[in-house]
Symmetry: none
Subunit: 218 residues, 2 copies
């Protein structure tokens, strides 16, 4: 446990007493792929330090439509799962495990106590929340304003950057979900991209062929 | 000047030296109705305390489409006009004066110094930014997903048609039930409508004021 606790980015800001408090309340949580990590209406799980897997944060409409806001990878600290502790946040997000997740959880009550007692921790949590919001606003702007061709090119380039590979191994359905579009729309746009020689379509993968053209679009 | 400085919500958090710094750098700015107060690309004006008038914050697309995010009234402190000081914010918003504006400006350099030197001020600015973001997210969610603006406009126009009167005599609760929404959501959206001059809110009634704007939404 101790090795995980010291990975908390605010661990060194804590007094001995506060570290003791966290040590006493922290726990390891596991979520199976597809499981809900946090849901707007449900009780608040607290701050999560992602140790393994991937968490996807999204908005959910009454009709079940989803808009992906951002994804969290190992080492990432999740504050939106502690919205019950940050009074200023009044909207609801959903989080699911994209792969099996292992996370260190600091319960809401303890997070609230730290935030109350330690202004450096409070400041740190706010700063992180602002960063996430800024990401979210960026996503929203993409969706509201940007054309699908551009969004698709953006996503392919970002995936290439993230994975270091020009072969994006995802189905059209998965890509569509990531860029908040429909499978058919993505399939059509990918076909156009391949006709333009920008990508090559293989079974279960999109191979990037003309980075310059994609970058021009993005 | 002194009377305005003491209205700054973080004035009492400052040391004498910091107050002196702010006193030396603050200035009164005036913007004519319609003028740009802040534009994503332009230089950063710093933190603004609105003294008179109204500032509208919105997103602007490449094609010139606008989405209003929130409005600021006298007494309101604007932190998004100081995005150059908050590194975490990476997206761009626009601000214009909706009416002639008079504002107290704390320049970016001084804001940055305060943020660096005084953790209470830093925390306060972050908290404010989070509050604004939360409002923004709420608006986005309603508009993108629930079409709440559209549903509400539809309902108001249908009621006007049905009753032959531009005064819809219903409580927010009743309206919410008719369009399958929540009272709080309807109240917030009606407030937005009234800020946009589309309706006037009276006790127990909603008066339709700008039919063209409502029809455009619907």
């Amino acid at each position: 446990m101790e090795q995980y606790l010291t990975r908390l980015p605010f661990w060194e800001m804590l007094t001995k007493g506060e570290q003791e408090l966290v040590r006493g309340g922290a726990s390891l949580l596991r979520y199976k792929k597809g499981a809900f990590v946090h849901s707007g209406g449900s009780e608040c799980v607290g701050v999560l330090l992602l140790l393994e897997g991937e968490i996807r944060t999204f908005l959910l409409s009454d009709e079940g439509r989803e808009v992906t806001l951002f994804r969290l990878y190992p080492g990432g600290l999740c504050v939106l799962s502690a919205t019950c502790v940050i009074d200023q946040i009044t909207f609801e997000v959903q989080m699911t495990a994209q792969h099996d997740v292992k996370a260190l959880a600091i319960p809401a009550g303890i997070t609230a106590a730290l935030k109350e007692r330690n202004i450096r921790v409070r400041c740190f949590l706010y700063e992180l929340a602002i960063q996430r919001f800024s990401d979210v606003m960026w996503s929203m702007q993409q969706i509201l304003f940007k054309g699908l061709d551009r969004r698709l090119a953006d996503f392919l380039l970002a995936e290439q950057e993230r994975t270091g590979s020009g072969a994006i191994r995802m189905t059209h359905e998965q890509i569509a979900r990531h860029i908040s579009s429909a499978r058919e729309a993505v399939a059509r746009m990918l076909k156009r991209f391949s006709e333009d020689g920008m990508v090559e379509l293989q079974r279960g993968a999109v191979i990037l062929r003309d980075m310059d053209a994609l970058k021009k679009l993005s």
